[in-house]
């Protein structure tokens, strides 16, 4: 399995896959947006503003998921000095950061007509902002720290410590009274989102996952090219 994770191998697969995945992404996104914006029903209470959820929720999921992967890779980077994993996590972080920002912005846009406020210092929203900040610090640590060995060490520590925030985001709505509603999609019981609204939600999640994969592959290849043309590494 680790043979497949050799940087050169990923580079080769990535160069072939990018075109295919970008086409797939556009197709899935088109289906998802049609479903979300046109075909899916309005909500009984919030009418059309429910459509913001189809961007907001998948974006939040992606931001959380990518950071979790980042943290796991970072554990292995820090302990075993795995040379491939730091390239992978460095290339994953940008799309996670973008999605955390998208989740915050769409949340604000939804909050204004629904709650009556753009922003509230609510446990869920604040912890999500902290996640976005962790992404930012993680990305900056690669830019700011000149020494490569040290950059690897410090950035993986940032990801590992930031991971403590992930369960806080997840359970904030259960632990405290929050303005943000509780979870609708439950693993153990029925979800409280009607099935006609779940379909666009899952298609949009697939589209966002493909987008992350695409950005990841492109970023990974750029990093590989930088390494191959030594000296360009720090540019």
């Amino acid at each position: 399995m680790f043979k497949l994770l050799k940087p050169n191998q990923i580079f080769e697969i990535a160069s072939k896959l990018t075109k295919f995945i970008s086409i797939l992404f556009i197709v899935v996104l088109t289906i998802g947006l049609t479903e979300a914006l046109i075909l899916s029903p309005e909500d009984y209470k919030q009418s059309h503003s429910v459509r913001i959820m189809y961007v907001h929720v998948p974006a939040a999921w992606m931001a959380l998921g990518i950071f979790s992967v980042l943290a796991f890779l970072s554990l292995s980077i820090f302990i075993f000095k795995n040379k491939t994993f730091f390239l992978i996590s460095k290339s994953l972080a940008p799309s996670g950061f973008i999605f955390s920002i998208i989740a915050l912005v769409t949340g604000a846009i939804w909050g204004k007509p629904t709650w009556g406020t753009w922003w509230a210092w609510d446990a869920r929203i604040t912890s999500m902002l902290i996640l976005a900040l962790f992404y930012l610090i993680y990305l900056l640590s690669w830019k700011v720290i000149e020494n490569k060995e040290r950059a690897i060490k410090i950035s993986s520590l940032i990801a590992i410590i930031g991971a403590i925030n992930i369960p806080i985001i997840k359970f904030s709505v259960n632990w405290w009274n929050t303005l943000h509603q509780g979870q609708s999609i439950k693993i153990l019981s029925d979800s409280t989102i009607h099935s006609s609204m779940l379909l666009p939600l899952f298609i949009m999640t697939a589209a966002f996952a493909l987008f992350s994969l695409l950005i990841f592959l492109m970023k990974f290849n750029t990093e590989m090219i930088k390494i191959k043309n030594k000296g360009l590494d720090r540019l």
């Binding site: 029903p41 629904t114 009556g116 303005l179």
Partner: protein
Amino acid sequence: MVKKVKLRILFLLAIILSAILSVFLILKSLEKDVVFFLSPTDVKVLKTIDTKKIRVGGMVKDKSISISSEKINFVITDFKNEISVSYSGSVPNLFAENKGVVAEGFLEDRNYFKAVKILAKHDENYMPPEVKEALGEK
């Protein structure tokens, strides 16, 4: 080499544990501020009523909204205790009876709250209007 790996694992464990502990302690000591709103029951058991701005949240009690020329009066309930709220100003679209609400303002006493801002709380139910109607008929 193995020794180095062991040391790094120990180091990480120490860092993670102390970070979790400090986050836990911070959240514990800030609990009053982490909680976005108090329920009417929380208000009942408050030790002191101070003049600081607080938020009270819960359900708007059925048939409790009365609107006069300049004021909206309603009752927030958590189905154990309730508190009367008076407010003047505009309310969000989703403000309605039997729906969640968070009121920001000042406590006059344990049963009376003067709100300066009303936020509607949305619950975790999403469905098309037809489904809601069908559910209502049942």
